[in-house]
Subunit: 133 residues, 4 copies
């Protein structure tokens, strides 16, 4: 399955004065999740960019169910949701390590573009890599 | 109208190695937008928290249409979309100052909770303040 | 005098669970301070980079005297401390708007490098611009 | 020895448009370094705060020798430099994993304060824990 689980520990400056992780940081963890999923599938996002393939975010969504707190160990479960000619989507589920409870669930949609920002087809090698069962 | 326009200038560390603003920072600007909308309506978010009313984000969405770049002057147009007993939603449109083109549009949904994180009714004074035409 | 005062308002995610601004963000404000000082002197940092002149930070220092808090209006006073062939240094004093009390004082030292990261001489036009009394 | 080595991987939004890690993020890694050093010594910073002992940063310094880049694996070596009645100082050396070259070296000084921000003596149990050879 096109799926990977990545651990992150909550950093001090990620927590706001309510004592919970500020909502923006979940997207940083989601980015770590998809980076590690790609690495797990055999390519790194750094390599993609070296080859002139960029995957900027064009849409994001997140539902926050329960707060995350300082120093907690969390797990991001990342799955490939969609791979098409010039568009890739990932879904995310965030949990505390060792717990089934979902703290947050999200989705990001990416275009595939060149260095100049023009939409390009994702080369078939990568499309296969991302979509084979 | 429950609407306010707030200027922000793109900061150096908000721009990533693609040369465009990283997608997480748009939510920081949206937060500035709703803070300034509240101030414009006559209450500040800081005062709300001092009175034990917190408005954590429970859902976010953003569609990115066109990138923002270093040192650009932008405008966030924030509007109240929904005010109910214990839930408030805002919409956002981001443009370059002096331009009509929408760079990004977003939405955030907030619960009203007390210091302990329990859902509370938004006091009627504030509900009126936010929802009167 | 090579000096400028710039206003910043404390943003929600800049405040940590102690209820005070996390120490890293002061350097973001210092960066805004030197950006606005350059703009005030007649060149922008964005233009410098377009011309292939980069000013990466090679050394920083900050002493924190008193905390800054959410939604406060602050002022960064930035001064040019040193301009030499391939090195520029700035000093910073942070205060609340309307107050003389210094919340933090800092210093950043910058090399002048080209796009490849090699040290270059700061062109004399810019050296004059930065150092004339 | 009061020393610990902690791995961090460079995250995408930590890299700026020069293609190198923005200088502010080094202090986030230093904070991770001292957090893990404390954990290694048998107490966590989270526990300290639960007991009403806070260690805000009162002074920082960093010298940047060589840039860090996206997706690199780095190591922060953190050492206790000074432990006195109400003051603790740490030093940091940042390297790429498997390399001896120092990318950056830093120092942070902390006061020990209570929840209200008043300077307190670091309880002797913790002073012993931090300073025994």
């Amino acid at each position: 399955m096109r799926r990977a689980v990545t651990a992150v520990r909550v950093r001090y400056p990620e927590v706001d004065r309510m004592g919970v992780v500020h909502h923006t940081h979940f997207f940083v963890w989601f980015e770590i999740g998809r980076t590690e999923l790609l690495r797990h599938l055999g390519c790194t996002y750094a390599e993609l960019e070296e080859q002139g393939i960029f995957m900027p975010v064009v849409e994001v969504f997140c539902r926050y169910r329960s707060p995350a707190r300082y120093d907690e160990l969390l797990e991001v479960e990342t799955a490939l949701q969609e791979v098409s000619i010039s568009r890739v989507a990932f879904s995310y589920h965030l949990r505390r390590t060792g717990s089934d409870r979902v703290l947050a669930e999200g989705r990001t949609v990416h275009a595939t573009v060149n260095r100049g920002g023009e939409v390009i087809r994702l080369p078939v090698t990568y499309r296969d890599l991302l979509s084979r069962p």
